[in-house]
């Protein structure tokens, strides 16, 4: 496993920033990953699911044309803040003029099968909070996906049965019950769960490291996530 710090050699956001010029593939992959939070933000701004989807698509279309990256400075920091600010500006100025349709239907930057269910807005009290929350959720979802992929690759035993303990604690006697099923001692199960959680934390850090500019920002962002989700 690479050390967290080593991952910065390939961090996409920092590459994009450092290059200061086109890194279309890296940026597009990042954008694709964080479509959801922007969509949540657009929904919160009073758009229908369909409008929000179109706005988000248009936003990426513009973003990927690269014009908005010119002014970004590496010390500018987090990809999360950058995207949010850019989206705020976009929604204010772009005024929902349908540019994609203008020339008879432009290219769609991110392929979508259907319009995602708009996020529940009741939990947050501002569009920015909705964005941050959705961001944190997306990031954890990706971290979990990463952990799964690793587990599959590494043939981690009983991953499917242990996975749920990533977010729940064992009820009294639950490990004991599993122990019969898995043929592991209860301490063995506990140790496996612990390893899984530690590995999950690394996955979260790895995901975060793709969206911040320096290793020092990772811990700060991790705390921010914890507070956003609290």
């Amino acid at each position: 496993m690479p050390e967290p710090d080593r991952q910065f050699h390939t961090t996409r956001w920092s590459v994009v920033l450092a290059a200061g010029e086109e890194q279309p593939q890296a940026l597009e992959t990042l954008c694709r990953a964080y479509w959801g939070p922007l969509y949540a933000y657009a929904c919160w701004r009073g758009n229908t699911a369909e409008e929000a989807r179109d706005l988000t698509q248009e936003f990426f279309a513009k973003l990927l044309e690269k014009k908005w990256l010119d002014g970004v400075k590496p010390e500018g920091g987090k990809f999360r803040s950058f995207l949010l600010t850019a989206m705020q500006r976009f929604l204010i100025t772009a005024y929902q003029h349908s540019i994609a349709q203008k020339r008879g239907g432009g290219a769609v930057p991110i392929a979508l099968d259907e319009i995602p269910e708009p996020p529940a807005l009741g939990q947050c009290d501002s569009p920015e909070a909705a964005f941050d929350r959705q961001w944190a959720r997306t990031l954890l979802e990706r971290a979990h996906g990463r952990l799964r992929a690793e587990a599959t690759l590494a043939r981690v035993q009983h991953f499917d049965m242990l996975e749920r303990f990533l977010s729940t604690e064992p009820a009294p006697g639950e490990y004991e019950a599993l122990s019969a099923k898995l043929g592991l001692g209860r301490n063995g199960i506990a140790a496996a769960v612990r390893r899984l959680r530690l590995r999950f934390r690394d996955c979260v850090r790895a995901e975060i490291s793709e969206t911040v500019a320096t290793p020092a920002d990772v811990d700060e962002e991790m705390r921010a996530l914890l507070e956003v989700l609290a």
Binding site: G46, R103, A120, L140, H144, S167, R197, A230
Partner: protein, 929 residues
């Protein structure tokens, strides 16, 4: 459906994991090892026994002493932010200073590998929250528990420590059932500098005092309040405030709208309720001066002595007590006089604040009354608002007043000996229905045009506006027939027998028997639009407001209800004790409703006062606004009609009548914009279809008629964005496949001669009223181009610093308003310079400027904002009720005379305010902007 984490309530991820818990556990992976002998300093950790906002508590054993303790540490461990660590340490230090049998004792504060922790006495029993979940305690038990809690908190106060987060879950019961106050998690020494400068509200919302909820600092009074809240929960089984989310609860806390405990549990002794409510007084000065006084009053209650707290209006009880104990009473009255003097002094200090709090509660009260939707609510709500206005005028009160004035009001006027007869004439007065010999006949003048036979009893039936269609109730079915062919256009089946029917414009409504529902259909398409539920008895009669979309109904439950049939919402409910029967009828101008009683033959006459300054129009079924936001709505020159362009239909609304006049359905997206231009013309255009024209002809009944199909095939593709008032010019934007061909086209009517004016990425255009100028704006280039008419020459480019997304000339053609990313600016048409003395303004969304240059209108999520044109200061916010649908990025338009403002909301509803009428109504209430 949202799946929530059973532990923290967060919505689960698609993978089934809780995002919050998984992150927390990843930061404290050792929780996986509940009893593996994990150690923290001198302690061996066992299972988790509690978890709060920032800390997790374990059962632990202290080596050496061999005693069981509770060990609390930060959830985030070494990842905790400095602020968290500081708070955590402070909490421990503060709690460690307290020694009292009613307070959980702190043993030790420590740190191990960067992980802060402290240990405390292990209290084995349940907490009060668990004890009382939904189940009230006996009054004496509750009083006794709370008096002990008060005693403990009084001790903390005497040491200068406030608790700040008292709640049932923080009060543990020891093995003897005695309460122990724990978790001074938010406690802070009274005199230490506040470190909660930010907007963070610490504490638990349902138990927070109003002043804490408003962000003020904690005081003894806020702990007094919290103790009252705990007593409330013990007595009633529920917290004083409930809400779906924190914001809602906090709003209620601040408003202080509390349900009296005895309303929830009549078994509660009155004195105990009084003690509880005194603690929960909205104003800190009305509460007990300190916690010890609560304890003292509770002790009196338990000893069956009179308490000191007085319920409002309980002077009599005090008097009785004085008679019984004259000596004590004399002494007490001296003390009382002193207290009164003190309280009076402090009140003078806080009177202003109290008045403002009262204003806030009046505002909340008015909102609650309005939302009750019952007869009389409007006047009560408005009177509360009037009082609030007298305390301090403000836009918030106007907004709430406008919300109230947007609803109808109604009351019983009188009882009349009359027998209403069912309306049996079409809206245009031409066709009449009669029933004889088992047949329903339609007559045009004296001539019978059509005959439906086979009805042993007269069926409920209603005619379309012009008598060319009829709806007849046949058991569980409503059939709509063409007249005179009798062809069945639609058979609309429902689950239960229908009893009554009425028809207005494109809406047909029928009321059911067993299911007590009212069904609304689109008469043109047969589509069912709404099922209105609310009546408790069979629906006996329904009647549309004359020509409108509002519908009245009566049922055997005695209630009279007024609905907006197109929006599918109840607007007003008038409860009466008399069972009713049909038919229900209106007087000629729709201000009186005749509702017969079931027994007795008398008819009650209800007066209905419709909103005078706002009108709600809706397509019936949600239909998104046209995708092009420009010109999705426009007023006719005389202000009597509005055109709106939605996804599937272009509609023309009559504002005199309050409903659809004409609808032009689209088969694709051929029409995207529509505008009135000139006296009798509606123009439509779209990217894929040509510019079309529909002529308007007023008919003898005062209705306008449109040519059935829009006429003409002119140049196709461009979008119509502006039309001159005199009808001579139309301006269209053409986005060409090549940027170089982008243009604005200006069409001269009636010759249809077209000039092409080069404008890259054209977006907006405006024509001056005097016919001299055309202004155009782009979505890719800053600035505004000014073209001279009729020559079509480029006159100049005005240096607006951003994209000119909205353009409008003043009604007198002296000014051009430009709006967009760089705010709103006014240019003088004399020399095209910025009009001096007008601030550049702020960025506003979906702006409209009144032609008289009185107001700038713009939208927020749920309101229309009005700014004064002169200085761009905000003057009013017009609320858009949730039932009218979301505003989204709605379109706004003013009528030519600047009196009416229309909003085209996201799902097709059109809301029209008559601004002078609104100001007049507000003036009658003593309010103004």
């Amino acid at each position: 459906m949202m799946n929530a984490c059973s532990k923290c309530g967060n919505e689960l991820l698609a993978t089934g994991l809780c995002p919050s818990c998984s992150l927390r556990l990843s930061l404290s992976p050792d929780d996986a090892l509940p009893d593996d002998g994990r150690a923290m300093g001198n302690y061996e950790l066992f299972e988790e026994i509690g978890r709060g906002g920032m800390g997790v508590v374990y059962r632990a054993r202290q080596a050496g002493l061999n005693r069981d303790v509770a060990l609390k540490m930060l959830i985030a461990g070494e990842f905790a932010s400095e602020e968290f660590r500081r708070r955590f340490r402070r909490e421990a230090e503060v709690a460690a200073r307290l020694r009292h049998p009613g307070i959980v004792a702190i043993y030790e504060i420590g740190e191990e590998d960067g992980q802060l922790f402290y240990t405390m006495e292990l209290v084995s029993g349940r907490n009060l929250g668990e004890l009382t979940r939904g189940i009230p305690l006996g009054a004496r038990d509750a009083a006794s528990l709370v008096s002990r809690v008060a005693d403990a908190v009084a001790h903390a106060h005497s040491k200068g420590v406030l608790h700040r987060d008292l709640k049932p879950a923080n009060i543990l019961l020891d093995s003897f059932g005695q309460p122990r106050v724990a978790d001074f998690g938010l406690a802070r020494a009274e005199h230490s500098p506040a470190d909660t400068r930010s907007a963070h509200i610490l504490g638990s919302p349902p138990y927070l005092s109003p002043e804490l909820a408003s962000g003020a600092a904690a005081t003894v009074a806020s702990d007094v309040y919290a103790i009252g809240a705990v007593l409330y929960q013990l007595l009633t089984g529920r917290a004083p405030f409930h809400g779906e989310n924190v914001a809602q609860i906090l709003a209620q806390v601040r408003d202080g709208q509390i349900i009296r405990p005895r309303q929830l549990n009549p078994a509660i002794p009155r004195d105990l309720e009084t003690i509880c409510l005194k603690c929960l007084s909205l104003e800190p000065g009305h509460r007990y001066p300190d916690v010890a006084s609560i304890e003292a009053d509770l002790t009196r209650f338990l000893a069956d002595e009179p308490i000191l707290a007085k319920p409002p209006g309980a002077a009599g009880r005090m008097l009785r007590w004085c008679r019984r104990k004259p000596a004590v009473a004399a002494l007490l009255s001296l003390v009382a006089a002193l207290i009164i003097a003190l309280v009076y002094g402090s009140l003078a200090f806080g009177r202003h604040k109290a008045a403002l709090e009262h204003r806030t509660s009046l505002l909340a009260e008015s909102r609650n009354i309005r939302e009750s939707g019952v007869s009389g609510a409007q006047s009560r709500a408005l009177s509360a608002l009037g009082e609030a206005w007298r305390i301090r005028a403000g836009a918030d009160i106007i907004t709430e007043a406008v919300a109230s004035l947007s609803l109808p009001e109604g009351r019983l006027l009188r009882n009349a000996q009359m027998e209403p007869v069912e309306r049996n004439v079409s809206a245009d007065g031409k066709v009449r229905i009669t029933y004889a010999d088992g047949a329903l006949s339609l007559h045009d003048g004296d001539r019978e045009t059509c005959r439906f036979e086979g009805f042993p009893k007269r069926p409920a039936a209603a005619l379309g506006d012009t008598g060319k269609r009829i709806a007849i109730v046949r058991g569980k079915e409503l059939t709509i027939h063409d007249v005179p062919s009798k062809k069945v256009l639609y058979s609309l089946a429902v689950a239960s027998r229908l009893k009554c029917v009425d028809w207005s414009g494109h809406l047909v409504a029928a009321g059911g028997s067993d299911d007590r529902l009212i069904y609304i259909w689109n008469a043109d398409t047969g589509e069912r639009l709404h099922r209105l539920s609310g009546h408790y008895g069979e629906v006996e009669g329904i009647a549309f407001r004359k020509d409108g979309q509002e519908l009245a109904s009566i049922a055997q439950d005695g209630a009279v209800r007024i609905w907006h049939a197109a929006l599918g919402v109840e607007l007003l409910r008038i409860e009466t004790e008399f069972n009713r029967k049909g038919p229900l009828t209106w007087n000629a101008d729709g201000t009186e409703l005749y509702a017969p009683r079931l027994n007795g033959g008398a008819t009650d006459v209800f007066g209905i006062r419709w909103p005078r300054a706002v009108r709600f129009l809706a397509p019936g079924a949600d239909e998104p606004r046209s995708e092009n936001l420009l010109c999705s709505i426009s007023f006719s020159n005389d202000g009597h009609m509005i055109s709106s362009m939605d996804e599937r239909t272009c509609r023309v609304w009559s504002l005199r009548h309050g409903r659809v006049l004409s609808a032009f359905p689209k088969t694709g997206d051929e029409w995207m914009t529509a505008r009135f231009s000139g006296e009798a013309s509606l123009w439509m255009s779209g990217w894929n279809r040509a510019l079309r024209h529909a002529a308007v002809t007023p008919d003898v009944n005062g209705w306008n008629r449109f040519s059935p199909q829009p006429q003409g095939t002119f140049n196709s593709g461009p979008l119509l964005v502006a039309g001159s008032r005199d009808g001579k010019w139309l301006a269209l934007t053409a986005d060409a496949p090549q940027l170089g061909n982008d243009r604005v086209e200006i069409v001269s009517v009636p010759s249809m001669k077209t000039m092409r004016l080069a404008q890259p990425s054209p977006y907006s255009a405006a024509l001056s009223t005097d016919g001299r100028w055309l202004a155009t704006g782009s979505y890719s280039e800053n600035g505004v181009k000014i073209w001279a008419l009729p020559s079509g020459e480029l006159h100049r480019t005005i240096p607006y610093p951003g994209l000119a997304l909205s353009l409008s000339f003043s009604g007198d053609s002296t000014g051009l308003w430009v709006g967009g990313g760089q705010g709103l600016q006014r240019f003088s048409t004399a020399d095209w310079t910025l009009t001096p003395g007008r601030p550049a303004g702020v960025g506003l969304d979906s702006v409209a400027i009144s032609p008289t240059e009185d107001y700038v209108a713009s939208i927020t999520r749920n309101e229309v904002l009005l700014h004064r044109c002169a200085d761009l200061t905000e003057v009013a916010r017009l609320p858009v009720p949730g039932w009218a649908g979301r505003i989204g990025s709605g379109t706004l338009a003013f009528s030519n005379d600047g009196r009416q403002l229309a909003l085209h909301a996201a799902l097709g509803a059109v809301i029209v305010w008559d601004i002078p009428a609104l100001r007049k109504e507000l003036a009658a209430l003593g309010m103004s902007w």
